[in-house]
Structure formats: structure tokens, C-alpha cells
Symmetry: C2
Subunit: 225 residues, 2 copies
DNA sequence: AAGAAGCGATACGGATCGTAGCGAAGAGAT
DNA sequence: ATCTCTTCGCTACGATCCGTATCGCTTCTT
């Protein structure tokens, strides 16, 4: 249902060494990986809602206490998987053209959110944030802020190119670009289809760009077809 | 923490008749209200996460079974409160100016989401949607679609005024306008401050409007200050 | 007054939670 | 090979909440 994607490994160990018997990866690191893998599998089946510490323990062949020695509960466990995924996501490459970079950036997010565990896990964690400040802090610093920082780099590149006007509020730009994506994921349930990124960027770009023909004269507005 | 707002009543019975002894409101309707009121109070304290059917029953002075005879669980109970709030929200009035209407429309949402139970309840329900199709359907038809329909009216008004170009994709416009708001509520945790609506509308408006001076020549772009 | 509907109370079995205590097994050092 | 420290498995709890079944009383309706 959530097929593994090229951007990160959903299966066993993506490291180059397939099975270095024992001492290379310490004992602790090995059980870590077994637990996280079981967590991924259960998350793929039923999302965060169906995730239980006892279920993970059973699936991983591990004692429940072993899990509680590492994480505070199922939310942190899911977050650990999410962070692991986020850190494997590739950065936005320099394409020479700022608009193309923006589309590519948003589109990558649309794809990863709509077709991997990431979307499902985020969906399941959102409700836990207000009641768990530590979880919320970790989630925001290690997941949300990641994309924000990446966008900042992209914007600075576009500004130095002369494509984007200086002094852009990156936070607002981030919300404008990704708000619609998460709106679909979390609220409306509308499909995260292929054209979404282009349409969002087309709509927002005039507010970011220095004035130019592609903005004021073009037809990149919100319409059908 | 979540003060009652003018747009809907957080307290007992907002109906004109304060206390018509018994037969006016049927027995069933009365216990309904007692339960919903207890639900509101508990939601205000700890959100959906801290809401339990047993807690509501105790607070309402009602048997647990009585609640299960009406709703399927705590999620539906919270949704009932949410729907009740949504239906009391006033519609977007005709202000003569489309941009002003948009700002007013988004700003009303920002206020209600940031300072009433509505935001907190939505935050708590989001994670339950993927695992409960019936709940998701009700949530989308009776909460999400509500704003969408209202925006449609607003857009049609603006189009017939000549402010907005014809053929606007209302769904995308809705996502562009409210995506950033929910992004703050659900993900980033950034404050839902007063200027947000204006800045979002200013950024998106060029994509909606017929070409004109306020779009191509103005300074309504994304910047600081 | 009589039937119907609504409600309270109690009692369950079940799933998870999160913690405690103890003994066994792995891993590195001498 | 033995010793020592870390890590882990196992079992056993008390606790909360779930959702359901049953039964008898109270309140409406006619």
C-alpha cells in the first residue's frame, strides 16, 4: 500500500554492508534496527493509530520493556521512523531556473507524502502534538524545520539569481507552498496528484518573483484546464 | 483557555428560551445537550486526546451506555461538538470589495481556529480520519465542505463583479487560502496572528484577479515589513 | 391508566498502557 | 578462559478505557 521509494529504504538495512555478523553494529544498534523495522511494517499496515508498543515488541521478537528503554511510547517510536525517513530525503538540486526548482521541490514533497509512509505517519502524529510538548518540539525541529531550511536555501539561490525579489519571508512562502499539500493530506482528503505542485507554484510565484513577463503577462493563474 | 466567542455559544443553551421546564425540549434532546456540554468542557481542558467516554459520562451525570446509544465513540462525540460550532458560524457578508471579502473571510477562520475550541478539536480529529471512513466522511461533508461552499459563493460574487477572472478552481483557491492557516495550526505551531489573513490573500490574489494595477504594479508581495 | 421509549446501574471480557524485579545472555578486557 | 558490565527477555502487576449485555426504574405519549 505504501511501496518503498527510491528516496529511502523501507526494507532491512540500506547500508552498503549487508550483514556484517555481529561486532560492527553493536548489540544495541542491531535491536534498534529490528524494532524500527517492525515499527515501519506495522505503520504501513494501519498507521499510527494501529501502532502499539506491544504489537511492535511481538513483531520484532523483542520484549516490551526493551522498547520502553529507548522510547517513551508509540508516538516517539513513530517519530523516530519519520525522522529517519526525513534524513534520507535528498536535497533540492540546483536546476538553474528558480521556478523549475520550486516546482520540483514541491512535487517531491507531494510524491513522498502521498505515496510513502511519511504522509501516513505525519497524519497520525499531528493529533498527539498538542498534548506532548517534547514530541511536538522534536517533530518541529527535526521534520518541519527541515523543509523550511531547504526552502530557505532555494529562495536565497533564486534571489541571488535575480529571479526572486529580496527580503522574502521564507516562513510565509513555506506555508503558501506546502499548506495546500498538507491541507489535502490532512483535511480534505483530495488526491495528491501530479499537477498539484505546478499549480500551486504557478499561483504563488507572482508574489515571490521580481516583476517580469512570466508573471504579469502570463496565464499562470488559477483556472481549469 | 478557549473563551467563548460571539460566533457561537460555549455555554449552556444559547436558545432564546432559557429554561422551559421539561416538555418543550424532549427528554432526549435535554440529555443530548447535557452530554454535549460536558464534552465541550472536557475538550476545552485537554483536547480530543484527553476526551474519554467515561469521563464525559461522569461529568454529565449520565450513564456511559447512554452516550454509546447516541454516538459511536469519543471521536464522533467530538465531531458532534465541532459540527455544532461550524453551523453557528456566520457566513461571509457582501462587502462590495472582493479583496476585502477574502481577507475578512480568511481572517474569520484564523480567529475562530486560533481562539476557540474549533482549532483544538480539528487538531485532535485529524489523526482519526484515516482509520475511520465514516468519521472522515462526516467530517469532510459537514466541516470541510462548509467553508468550500462559502468560498464558492464569494468567488462567484467576485467574478460577477469583474474583480476575479472567470473559471477559477475553487478547490485550489480554498487550499491556497486556508492551507497556510492549517499548516500553522497542525504542523508548525506558528501563531495564528492578526496579519496572517492579509498576507496570505495578498500573495494569492494576483492569481485570482483579473489583471489590473493592484496586481501587476502594486507591492503586494511576500516581504517583511 | 397503559404501553413505549429513554435512561441508570452494574458487570463483564478485552486491549494497552507503563513499571518493577530478576535472571540470562552478549561483549569486551585481562 | 574468566570476569565484569551492559543489554535484554520474561513475568507479573495495577490501572485505564474500551464497547457490550442485561435488567429494572423513570419519564413521556396517547
Amino acid at each position: 500500500m505504501y511501496p518503498s521509494s527510491p528516496t529511502y529504504g523501507d526494507d532491512a538495512e540500506p547500508d552498503p554492508d549487508p550483514l556484517e555478523p555481529s561486532p560492527a553494529r553493536s548489540r544495541r544498534a542491531r535491536t534498534d534496527e529490528v524494532i524500527l523495522q517492525a515499527t515501519r511494517e506495522l505503520l504501513a499496515q494501519g498507521g499510527v493509530g494501529a501502532l502499539t508498543v506491544e504489537g511492535v515488541a511481538a513483531r520484532a521478537g523483542v520484549a516490551k520493556t526493551t522498547i520502553y528503554r529507548r522510547w517513551r511510547g508509540r508516538e516517539e517510536l513513530a517519530l523516530a521512523v519519520l525522522i529517519d525517513m526525513v534524513e534520507r530525503v535528498v536535497v533540492a538540486p540546483d536546476l538553474g531556473d528558480t521556478r523549475k526548482e520550486l516546482v520540483s521541490f514541491v512535487d517531491a514533497a507531494v510524491k513522498v507524502i502521498g505515496s510513502t509512509l511519511m504522509g501516513r505517519v505525519m497524519q497520525g502524529l499531528v493529533s498527539e502534538l498538542p498534548g506532548d510538548p517534547a514530541l511536538a518540539r522534536a517533530f518541529r525541529e527535526r521534520v518541519v524545520a527541515k523543509r523550511h531550511a531547504e526552502l530557505r536555501r532555494l529562495v536565497e539561490r533564486g534571489t541571488s539569481r535575480g529571479d526572486l525579489r529580496p527580503g522574502i519571508d521564507v516562513e510565509l512562502a513555506n506555508e503558501l507552498l506546502f499548506g495546500p499539500v498538507y491541507y489535502r493530506l490532512l483535511l480534505s482528503g483530495a488526491p495528491l496528484d501530479a499537477g498539484l505542485a505546478t499549480r500551486v507554484v504557478d499561483a504563488v510565484y507572482p508574489a515571490l518573483a521580481t516583476r517580469g513577463p512570466s508573471v504579469t503577462a502570463g496565464d499562470d493563474r488559477i483556472g481549469r484546464g
